[in-house]
């Protein structure tokens, strides 16, 4: 099988899965199984691509020309291979979990949900493998539109207004800032292709660099840097599998991935360092990290707390990109993997608690730890990974990021990262502490839902085990920036 | 000319607007025809005794324009008639009131 065909197959698989889900919409089990099958197929392809990138293979396919200097091209970059691996492997988990959750919570319109979930994965994979900025933009928009039905899934007034906010912020920022920035880059350089070392050197006027970076970081609204983070907490009204999709697998990861790709393959870290045009962004990212951590502490709703935690974690990646030193960018790339794994575990747990015990608030978790031991253990594993405690995989990316900030001699940034870890410990582990220490006066009825319990356990254990196998990823992470 | 325009803008009655339009257009036609006048010229008849005659082209053009103007007036009047049948009035204010009521 040729590499280019493999690429097309990988991108098409989620769409085919969506089609089959639609055709078998009257048979629930069959319908839902296509998500898992599609996930396995894309995982195999992503693994193949991941290994291929390790051995310097080229994965590229050009479909047609769009306009002068810009083709409709898919080409896998090392960074893209990382993101696609994350997206496809977590899709399997999410598909299994979706079955348990949607049936457990008795949601309506399950077919529509499954279909748009698959389309969203398709868009995420296409973003990962896109060969130039315009193709990335196209699938960035498709991802927004395909997740809109998921966010507004419940179709009550609350989810409708959340859906509107979600759409207007993401599409609005992308059309007002991101697209003009893309045009601008094209007009200055005549190309939009991703290249090692970027395409802007000696072509883009230095004095406008800061402005361009601002257009990009605010245009990629999915990266949720303050002050355009409002859509993320609002989208929490969606069912938990969507939150998992939003926070771990696809949407926000697509956002930070896009930004990272732009920095590494369009702007070029060296050029960024020469011009110092992203230093302001370092401080904005630091502010976002601290502010959202503090907001997270005040939230009693578990999902809202996790949402703010996500905003803070995303800014780690933006911070890494803005620092633009080699170690920082490696850390940011690695953080895509580690945060995805950790955060999906946490969301799976939050959803599992909701399905089994119908509890959403942190303060009501009293005594549940002993009733739902597996979930709470998985939650703890995920939380520890995000906090960055060894021997969990999250420690690696944080280590790189701190090293990266020291490399640029931003001592203060390293301190901020440390303080934020302390805050993490407080707001992420508080639910565990409440769950295990305090006792509950009234007994509550628990509903068994094994399909929602096992995925977080698997991903939680993954956080632990992959710490020892991080070499596997490090190789590709090292290739991101040479 | 300005008189015609003034009538169109200020009058509340649709029929009067049509009248205004007709005046406005006629004024322009006259202006056009006046361009054709050549000093001491006569009617443009092809005889050997006359050498100075008015330019006939504007007359021809205006003949077309008059036809267009008549058609416009006719269509306008037909519309006014239809409006009267549908609304029972051709006063702009009254029709606005009627529409406001029907919207509620």
């Amino acid at each position: 099988m040729s590499n280019s065909f493999l690429l097309l197959l990988g991108i098409a698989t989620p769409l085919i899965a969506a089609l089959f889900s639609y055709l078998t919409r009257y048979n629930n089990n069959l319908r839902d199984s296509f998500g898992i099958i599609g996930g396995i197929v894309t995982l195999i392809i992503s693994l193949r691509v991941f290994h291929g990138i390790q051995s310097n293979e080229i994965f590229e396919i050009t479909l047609f020309n769009l306009f002068e200097g810009v083709d409709f091209t898919f080409r896998v970059t090392p960074l893209g291979s990382i993101f696609s691996l994350v997206a496809s492997s977590l899709w399997i988990m999410a598909s299994i979990y979706t079955i348990g959750y949607m049936r457990g919570a008795g949601e309506k319109n399950q077919t529509r949900f499954v279909i748009f979930y698959s389309i969203a994965i398709h868009a995420a994979l296409s973003i990962a493998w896109s060969g130039n900025l315009l193709v990335l933009f196209i699938f960035y928009e498709i991802l927004t539109f395909s997740t809109f039905p998921l966010v507004g899934h419940k179709q009550n007034s609350e989810s409708q207004s959340a859906g509107r906010l979600y759409l207007s912020i993401l599409v609005g920022t992308s059309l007002i800032f991101f697209l003009p920035a893309i045009f601008w880059i094209w007009l200055e350089t005549g190309t939009l292709n991703f290249q090692d070392g970027g395409i802007l050197i000696n072509k883009f006027p230095i004095e406008y660099m800061s402005f361009l970076i601002a257009l990009l970081v605010f245009g990629i609204g999915k990266a949720a840097i303050m002050p355009i983070h409002r859509w993320l907490p609002a989208a929490m009204v969606a069912p938990t599998p969507v939150s998992a999709l939003l926070h771990a697998v696809a949407v926000v990861k697509a956002g930070v991935f896009s930004f990272l790709v732009v920095i590494v393959y369009i702007v070029g870290p060296d050029y960024l360092l020469q011009t110092n045009s992203s230093d302001w962004l370092v401080w904005l990212a630091c502010f976002t990290i601290m502010a959202s951590s503090i907001i997270a502490i005040t939230k009693d709703d578990l999902k809202a707390r996790l949402a703010y935690s996500t905003i803070s974690q995303l800014s780690y990646i933006i911070l890494g990109a803005a620092l633009a030193s080699s170690l920082a960018i490696k850390g940011a790339s690695f953080h895509i993997i580690t945060h995805a794994l950790g955060k999906i575990t946490l969301f799976f747990c939050a959803g599992a608690i909701y399905v089994t015990a119908h509890i959403k608030k942190v303060s009501e978790l009293k005594g549940l730890g002993f009733k739902l031991p597996l979930i709470f253990v998985a939650y703890t594993l995920g939380a520890l990974s995000i906090i960055g405690v060894p021997p969990f995989i999250g420690s690696w990316s944080k280590f790189y990021l701190i090293m990266g900030s020291l490399e640029r001699e931003f001592i203060f940034v390293a301190i901020i990262l440390g303080v934020s870890s302390l805050l993490n410990i407080y707001y992420l582990l508080q639910p565990v502490v409440i769950g295990f220490t305090q006792t509950r006066k009234k007994e509550i009825k628990l509903i068994k839902s094994p399909l929602t319990v096992w995925p977080p356990v698997i991903t939680g254990i993954g956080c632990l085990i992959l710490f020892f196998y991080s070499d596997y990823f490090i190789h590709n992470v090292n290739r991101v920036i040479t | 000319m300005m008189g015609g325009l003034f009538i169109i803008i200020t009058s509340q009655n649709y029929l009067k607007k049509i009248v205004g339009l007709a005046i406005f257009q006629t004024a322009v036609f006259v202006f056009f025809v006046s361009l054709a006048k050549v000093l001491d010229g006569t009617a443009p008849i092809l005889t050997k005794s006359l050498s100075v005659y008015s330019n006939p082209l504007p007359h021809v053009l205006i003949l077309t324009a008059i036809v267009v103007g008549v058609a416009t007036s006719a269509l306008g009047l037909a519309l006014v008639l239809q409006i009267y049948k549908n609304y029972g009035t051709i006063e702009e204010k009254e029709i606005e009131n009627l529409e406001l009521k029907s919207d509620k």
């Binding site: 179709q155 859906g163 007002i176 003009p180 | 077309t64 324009a65 267009v68 519309l79």
Partner: protein, 498 residues
């Protein structure tokens, strides 16, 4: 024998619809007027294709009526500027006529069908005349015929809503004022030069190259008259009501082509004739047209956001889109004119597709289409709704649709001219377009009701999908549109380069 026909092709594309219009005016039958119109328009398309082929060889065709040489006779001219538009026009009228049959059956009285198609062909013939004419007075005649035909067609909407009469009447009055202004201007030009032929006018005007007050006055009158007809902000007030209360098929024709042909002539007049007075042109474009366009983009989009009636919403969005075109023209260089023409093409397709889909909804719903009335239509009429979705995404300007190509070229033109504030306003307006368009989508797919699918009429959704597919096709393979627009710009900038 057939060659004889082809020699007269430039006249025939205009005359053929006009003759057919007279023939079918009093036909009592319901179906024959449509069949005859279709046959005529197929010939029309064939003739247009023939003309384009001729033009590609000989670069320019000047057809003199009755072999009267200019400046006495009327002449038509086909060259690089209007050949692309002619093809678009011919193909679009054919598609929309195909679409119109069932729509007219539903929206107007059966005995009026013959009259409706008579007016329809009259409008088509005269709009085509606007594209081809090379004579400024002849243009006035075509302007008025097309206006009268469109007004009558609009007033046919009175069977559904009596407001159509008021809309038609307002259009009549405002349109007639605009046309009369134009004639005054033409009179001034004639008084100074003694010619009405555009080529001749260029030669004669260059005598007065330092300018004369009478000429400037004449030019201003002509431009204002055309601005009224082309619905350039703030002279657009007739447009929203006229588009939205007209029968659906008529709105399609008007929205897609009527203003576009006039905008084309506007550009031709500016860049071919008035270019002689560059100072005047610069003042007009930079200080009048440019700010008006930027305001139009904003105001049009903003008003569209607050509309409940979907046809009105689309009409206000048209005003903003016309603003894009005039903004591009006001840059007065090659890139600007190219992007203006690109948008003329693309927007004709997009708005045509949107009005067609909404028009179909109107006859399905049997009332005015408001936001609340299309609840669940995405499930009820999936084929048409999906076409509407694609056209709408193109209106926003997302990649892979032709709307994106328009936007790309507009951005490029603005960037070359270093107009950064308009770039921001265009970007903002396209973001606002998401807001008003998404209101429609939300009602169609994400409202509280979810009806079962119902049967849709293939003879209606087939033409809609032709337009929709062409929207995607030209988004991916944009070179035909680009080539025609570049050609137009090449011709029109000859004067600029001097």
């Amino acid at each position: 024998m057939f060659d004889l026909f082809l020699d007269d092709a430039p006249a025939l594309v205009v005359v053929l619809p006009l003759i057919a219009s007279a023939i079918i005016a009093f036909m009592p039958s319901k179906i024959w007027p449509w069949i005859i119109s279709m046959i005529v328009l197929v010939f029309h398309l064939a003739l247009s294709l023939h003309l384009i082929e001729e033009v590609s060889i000989s670069k320019i065709i000047i057809y003199e009526f009755g072999n009267w040489e200019p400046p006495w006779g009327i002449s038509f001219k086909i060259d690089g500027v209007n050949s692309g538009l002619q093809i678009l026009f011919s193909s679009f009228v054919l598609i929309s006529t195909f679409y119109s049959r069932k729509i007219f059956l539903n929206e107007i009285e059966a005995e009026d069908t013959g009259k409706a198609y008579s007016l329809w062909l009259l409008a088509i013939g005269s709009l085509n005349g606007i594209i081809l004419t090379n004579d400024i007075f002849n243009l006035f005649v075509f302007l008025e015929i097309s206006a009268l035909a469109s007004i009558s067609l609009i007033s046919l909407g009175a069977g559904l809503n009596r407001k159509a009469l008021l809309a038609a009447f307002n259009y009549l009055i405002i349109g007639a004022i605009g046309a009369t202004f134009y004639v005054i201007g033409a009179g001034f030009a004639y008084a100074m030069t003694g010619t009405l032929n555009m080529n001749d006018l260029i030669i004669q005007l260059s005598q007065y190259s330092d300018g004369q007050l009478a000429i400037f006055a004449g030019m201003s009158f002509m431009l204002i008259g055309l601005m009224v007809k082309a619905a350039i902000f703030p002279l657009h007030i007739w447009l929203p009501a006229a588009y939205s209360y007209a029968p659906s098929a008529v709105s399609t024709l008007l929205a897609a082509l009527a203003t576009k042909t006039i905008l084309y002539f506007f550009a031709r007049l500016l860049f071919e004739v008035f270019i002689i007075y560059e100072n005047y042109l610069i003042i007009f474009l930079d200080f009048i047209l440019f700010p008006l366009s930027v305001i139009a983009i904003f105001i049009g989009t903003l008003i569209a956001v607050y509309q409940d009636d979907i046809k009105k919403l689309l009409a206000f969005s048209s005003i903003a889109q016309i603003g894009y075109i005039t903004l591009a023209f006001s840059l007065r260089d090659h890139s600007g004119i190219t992007s203006g023409f690109v948008h003329i093409f693309n927007h004709a397709l997009i708005k045509g597709g949107l009005f067609m889909s909404v028009g179909y909804f109107a006859i399905l719903y049997k009332d005015r289409v408001t936001l609340s009335s299309i609840k669940g239509f995405g499930y009820k009429y999936p084929i048409t709704s999906f076409a509407l979705l694609i056209c709408g995404l193109s209106l926003i300007g997302l990649p892979l649709t032709n709307g994106f190509i328009s936007k790309l070229y507009l951005f490029q033109a603005l960037y070359i001219n270093q107009m950064y504030i308009p770039i921001a306003s265009v970007a903002l307006s396209s973001a606002l377009a998401v807001v008003y368009f998404w209101k429609i989508v939300e009602q169609m797919w994400f409202s509280d009701i979810k009806p079962k699918p119902e049967k849709e009429d293939p003879s209606i959704y087939f033409p809609i999908w032709i337009i929709t597919i062409s929207i995607i096709l030209f988004g991916i393979y944009s070179s035909p549109i680009i080539e025609f627009s570049t050609l137009s710009a090449d011709y029109l900038t000859q004067g600029l380069q001097k």
